[in-house]
Symmetry: C2
């Protein structure tokens, strides 16, 4: 029976200690309350999906990272199996977007229209384990399904930035762009449509390699110098122009879809005017976002202090239709839950409104009457909003108190057999 | 690309609709707050554990129901694999107790002593799918590790019944027994220790087959008539005795461990005296509880209206030691989270303190100024504690409002291009 057991969590996943858990619970509370205020409904899907759905080419690179779940019972015959398909039927979800699409197609008859969804849940990716990146982590997404208008974008950005503000973040930047801007700029420059994806991947490196870097990489990849110069020319112009959106609207007149610049302007103005948090919302024509499923607006939250993104999203009007068979406009915003927790933990964030912690220490072998008395006192203190620990007094009471103080217990009451009722 | 996708969740798991999710969130809130008040710390482990830990014979029948996770990358060779061990390295947890034992052994240096743990999380069991039973479901456990005294039992039962009371449950019954009572009764009757487990399994059917049924089944299984009669005689006596615990203390004097009856009496008296909820706590010498890891007290919550258990637990002083190598007393109480949700949903439970729901409907193509105005109004209403939906007004406004009313929106404001500022 005394078989050797493994004390460590499985590779790449982590145990969460109480101090972090308290911060996580607080953040989840702020998220839930705020998104509810904005009319989002919390919903949930199972953590597993059928392997066919997960491998349907909507997850990009993430599909390579699926934790696959084995068939069970008679359906499983390992010895005779030749390929993965013979032994696997389910997989762990790698994001919350594909499950949302499936959920919506399965339940739309019972959902409001538009459906404003809030999801918070773990996802799993069999990435190479590395510091600060885990193979099980929480995602937190809001999505609006069935709203083709830019009210969806306004709500999503307002709600998400309000959450961040309420968590104490400020001076962050939300970058906003639209895939149609990206495409119009490429079209105007004379690039072939088939090349757009590659061009955008190079453009996406702007942060790291700068305008000149993008220019040389495009040229190295064999794109016509004329196109590259026309393309880069616009980005160079915009470095000095105040109203970049206006500049592009004029420059790309005839190439840009009608009303797009006005729509973007309305989104930016409305969100800015009603902002609760202190932050910047900027139009950023260099913003690309990787996922191929985006069809319109795209956005991303950047925090200067981190040099990385703490959230992003965009419009993906084509994805839901693959399940439902009928086109359903969709737009979503995901916040980097784990990154936010990491930042708060590094800042030694204190959860507001924590209860006072009181420890009641009882002498060993307290009589029944005394025990009843002590638990009655504990009940009263708890009713007053205190967190009460009832424990037996150790022989080394001083050490015991020191340990409890480390855990936040600063008030002590002691109860003895001969004096509990005095 | 137009590959056929599966709309349904995987067999035996379910999508959770917003109405249920709201109840779940509320219940989770009450649980978290109440257990915190009692000094429990929320903690979390990954949903996967190494397959060796999961199959270490502590999970009983549940080990047959593990969802197993495939190895990845180079470690996986399906074509050459002969057995499951060749292709599996992880598994989904089937309960929260085994992960807790691993967690404690991994982190005890950073945990308070005693450690009062709260866990809420999904577990997975590949059970035959059936109505109302799912293959992914939430468990909610509290455990006290490192406390050998009966203060642990008092805290666990008080905290759990307080949660149930705050969720509106009353007149339920908590049955209390101790494995040592079970053993002493069997020893007193002259049964061999090797037969105890089988005898208790038969005793456990008392609810269904009654005293006579238990008697005949014991006899059919070949137990000595004398022992069976001595054994059943005690249960028969106790049907008319008021103080069953006192009866057994006297009857089993010399067989019962010293101080056990007094300890049980102290637990029952203390919990009863400080009860916040209205319920009964009874000593029930017929209570068995299946899991073999229990070593002392055992308890179970019964609701007459359901005829089934909505929670249970007990002391398991031997399990943690298998990981840590040193004996760690442990006692836990698990509430049937999913069952509680089912009951509340069937009762049409309304979550208290819900926000007023207001829908703002905007005419199509509202100008930027008007849009800014409307979102400003939404911000104000949200700040007043209202849940606000901002949506474009449909052509069929009447139908739109009817749909919104189904979703709880009873107050509407309409905004038109030509009059938003009037």
């Amino acid at each position: 029976m005394a078989q050797k057991l493994n004390k460590k969590p499985v590779t790449g996943m982590k145990d969460i200690l109480p101090a972090e858990m308290q911060v996580r619970d607080y953040v989840i509370g702020v998220i839930t309350d705020t998104y509810r205020e904005f009319g989002f409904s919390h919903m949930e899907t199972p953590c597993m999906e059928s392997i066919g759905n997960l491998c349907s080419k909507q997850g990009g690179e993430n599909e390579k990272l699926i934790f696959k779940v084995m068939k069970r019972g008679e359906k499983l015959n390992v010895a005779e199996a030749q390929t993965e398909a013979d032994v696997v039927d389910f997989g762990m979800r790698y994001d919350l977007t594909l499950p949302l699409a499936r959920y919506y197609s399965n339940n739309s008859a019972n959902l409001p229209m538009p459906f404003k969804a809030l999801q918070m849940g773990n996802v799993w990716r069999a990435d190479r384990p590395q510091r600060g990146r885990f193979r099980q982590f929480m995602q937190c997404d809001i999505d609006i399904l069935g709203d083709p208008t830019n009210l969806a974008e306004i709500e999503l950005i307002s709600a998400t930035t309000t959450v961040l503000g309420r968590l104490g973040f400020k001076d962050f930047t939300v970058c906003f762009n639209d895939r149609q801007i990206l495409k119009a700029m490429a079209a105007y420059s004379g690039f072939a449509e088939a090349d757009y994806d590659e061009i955008f991947i190079i453009l996406d490196k702007m942060d790291k390699i700068g305008l000149d870097g993008v220019e040389s990489e495009l040229k190295e990849n064999g794109y016509a110098a004329e196109s590259v110069e026309k393309y880069l020319g616009m980005f160079r112009d915009m470095e000095t122009v105040e109203d970049t959106l206006g500049y592009l609207a004029e420059k790309l007149a005839g190439v840009l879809p009608a009303g797009l610049a006005e729509s973007i302007d309305k989104i930016l103005s409305s969100v800015r005017a009603c902002a609760e948090a202190q932050y910047n919302l900027v139009f950023d024509p260099t913003l690309v976002r990787g996922m191929s499923y985006y069809t319109g607006s795209i956005f991303e939250i950047k925090m200067a202090e981190l040099g990385c993104s703490v959230g992003g999203g965009g419009r993906y009007d084509e994805m839901i239709g693959r399940f439902t068979g009928q086109k359903t406009p969709a737009c979503g915003f995901s916040i980097g839950f784990e990154r936010i927790i990491t930042i708060l933990m590094e800042k030694n964030f204190t959860v507001p409104g924590e209860r006072e912690k009181v420890a009641f220490l009882m002498e060993k072998d307290m009589c029944t009457e005394g025990t009843v008395f002590v638990f009655g006192e504990a009940r009263k203190a708890r009713a007053e909003g205190k967190q009460v620990l009832v424990a037996q007094m150790n022989k080394n009471k001083k050490f015991q108190k020191e340990q409890l103080m480390k855990d936040g217990y600063n008030v002590f009451r002691e109860f003895y057999n001969d004096s509990w009722n005095k």
